[in-house]
């Protein structure tokens, strides 16, 4: 342990100072200090985010984009400045390319209904992979049903990896869109999206990347990736729930019809004709989640204020430590052993059902996720009804992982 602590300090990464910025991490759960290892489901909020939302609610709230009064102008400025920060965060070309949505799920549905549905014809294909979250499966199934297109699924291997050649083999002249996760929520696999996007582009296939599990762990540059769409959620990157982003290439967004209609997305309405607003407002019908987007802007500032390389190194060290500690436990099988993985470990212990494990660990103040992780095809592939998943953030510690391993060992003995 001492060596690890020294290594951390050498890397200039002070976990304890960072933890103090997250009030909830000081909580006691069932008499034990909280060890929050469910960051893949939702990450916690730093004071910077809590305070930004609080300040907005206390001093600036009004509806945006339509009032001439002071509060409305302040709220509008705050809302739009969050958009500017998101442009910078993922290196979009302009604020026209950042659409605020409720989260990744809504972003994917938007693309399915507004981009894919109008262009799909019977016999066309949408290509995804076997490790997708339900949110990157069901919207495509729906649009296929609506248009007569078919859904094609690229395989994974026993390590939970997606191979470029296996995906490319399924790309053909009927493939209209390729959509995949950047990081698998169930397995942690980091997909080779640069190569997959390049392969799709070379064949004229549009691309969407589900970045829900990625943006909190690694720097994302949409121009460098070259994807057409990139979707992510605020609450998995230390921001609020109910807010997320769809990045889309302006050229494509321009051509797409609005998918919801109402206020904000229009320029002029008469009973004869409605003129749509320009980007990004065309896709933001109705009063948006103003406080959420302001909180998300604060989360971007928070992340950019960190030494993200050091944070990433710490997360990798946590992953290595967890992999080693859990591997020592007899009867424990790590599910998802890709060479390139984000900091989460899915596992199954023979004789211990994940739900029982989740309850037993909760008694020790340890929060993990148990279940199918909204990725039932992945569970099916590994022939498991469910797994336990510990997912780490840069504020987690080696000691928390040791507590996790001890708790798993205790559960195993209880059910032996």
């Amino acid at each position: 342990m001492k060596n690890i602590a020294l290594a951390d300090r050498a890397a200039g990464f002070d976990v304890n100072a960072l933890r103090r910025q997250f009030p909830v991490l000081a909580r006691v759960v069932r008499g034990k200090p909280l060890a929050y290892l469910d960051n893949g489901a939702s990450a916690q909020r730093p004071l910077a985010v809590i305070d930004a939302v609080d300040d907005y609610e206390r001093h600036h709230h009004a509806n945006i984009h339509r009032g001439v009064h002071t509060l409305s102008q302040e709220a509008t400025a705050l809302y739009e400045s969050s958009r500017d920060r998101l442009v910078e965060f993922i290196n979009a070309r302009s604020r026209h390319e950042i659409i605020f949505v409720r989260g990744t799920t809504e972003a994917i549905n938007l693309v399915a209904q507004s981009y894919a549905r109008p262009i799909l014809k019977p016999g066309d294909e949408i290509l995804i992979t076997h490790l997708e979250h339900h949110a990157n499966i069901v919207p495509w199934q729906m649009v296929c049903e609506q248009t007569g297109a078919t859904l094609s699924v690229a395989p994974i291997d026993l390590r939970g990896e997606v191979h470029e050649d296996a995906v490319v083999a399924l790309m053909n002249p009927r493939t209209r869109l390729f959509s995949c996760a950047h990081v698998s929520n169930a397995l942690g696999t980091i997909l080779p999206i640069r190569r997959l996007i390049a392969a799709a582009k070379a064949r004229g296939i549009a691309t969407l990347i589900d970045g829900a599990q990625a943006v909190s762990h690694m720097h994302v540059d949409v121009q460098e990736l070259g994807c057409d769409f990139y979707a992510f959620s605020g609450h998995k990157m230390y921001g609020p729930t109910g807010i997320g982003v769809l990045y889309g290439r302006e050229q494509l967004l321009e051509r797409m019809p609005p998918w919801q209609s109402g206020g904000e997305m229009i320029l002029a309405v008469s009973f004869a004709k409605t003129t749509y607003n320009g980007l990004p407002n065309k896709f933001e019908a109705g009063t948006p989640n103003i406080s959420g987007s302001i909180g998300l802007g604060a989360a971007v500032d928070f992340l950019q204020g960190l030494d993200r390389d050091a944070a990433e190194r710490h997360e990798t060290a946590l992953l290595d430590h967890a992999t080693a500690a859990l591997s020592k436990i007899p009867e424990l099988r790590i599910v998802g052993t890709a060479g390139d993985k984000a900091s989460l470990v899915s596992f199954a212990v023979a004789g211990v059902h994940p739900h029982d494990l989740g309850t037993i660990l909760d008694e020790d103040g340890i929060a993990i996720r148990t279940g199918h992780h909204c990725a039932m095809p992945v569970m099916e592939f590994f022939k498991l009804p469910a797994t336990a998943r510990a997912s780490f953030a840069f504020y987690n510690t080696f000691e928390e992982i040791d507590r996790l391993a001890a708790g798993v060992e205790r559960a195993r003995k209880l059910f032996a």
């Binding site: 059902h353 739900h355 309850t359 008694e363 199918h372 039932m376 009804p385 469910a386 059910f415």
Partner: protein, 151 residues
């Protein structure tokens, strides 16, 4: 400690060695219960002799609470009439959810499930088999049986 109250010895025992586990051919009723929240899945099959449950078996996969609950349920309802079994379901449901539930003496082993009450997220694990049984019983005679109340 609450955890020991949840995972009592009798529950650990029924999880390790579930009773009446496996298929039943031929069966008068076979119903699959599924908890989409957690992926637990079990099938309850039973034979009726007039109105009496003459045999009952279950199979599937679930957590210790769900497996033990199903195992104890099969023991508890075998030989009972449909109405008796459904009344027992009501009593178990009360035991799982109602802090003011009357003493569970007549429930026998099933009383061991009372520890689940302190874990609201786990109540569904314990009740899945009972809902499945109720549905199986209703499928054998939808008209004469009263609807099962889970309130």
């Amino acid at each position: 400690m609450e955890l020991n109250d949840l995972y009592r010895d009798v529950i650990l025992d029924h999880n390790r060695r579930p009773r009446n586990f496996g298929g039943l051919e031929p069966a008068d009723a076979s119903v699959e219960g599924f908890n989409p929240m957690c992926g637990d899945r079990l099938t309850v099959r039973l034979k009726l002799d007039d109105d009496k449950i003459s045999d009952i078996r279950f199979e599937g996969q679930g957590c210790a609470i769900s497996t033990a609950s199903a195992s104890m349920m099969t023991e508890a309802v075998k030989g009972r009439t449909r109405a008796e079994a459904l009344r027992l379901f009501d009593r178990v449901h009360q035991l799982l959810t109602d802090d003011a539930a009357p003493p569970a003496d007549e429930l026998g082993k099933l009383a061991a499930l009372s520890g689940v009450r302190a874990y609201p997220a786990r109540v569904k694990c314990a009740s899945l088999c009972w809902h499945t049984l109720a549905s199986a019983l209703r499928s054998t005679n939808p008209h004469v049986l009263p609807a099962v109340t889970t309130e």
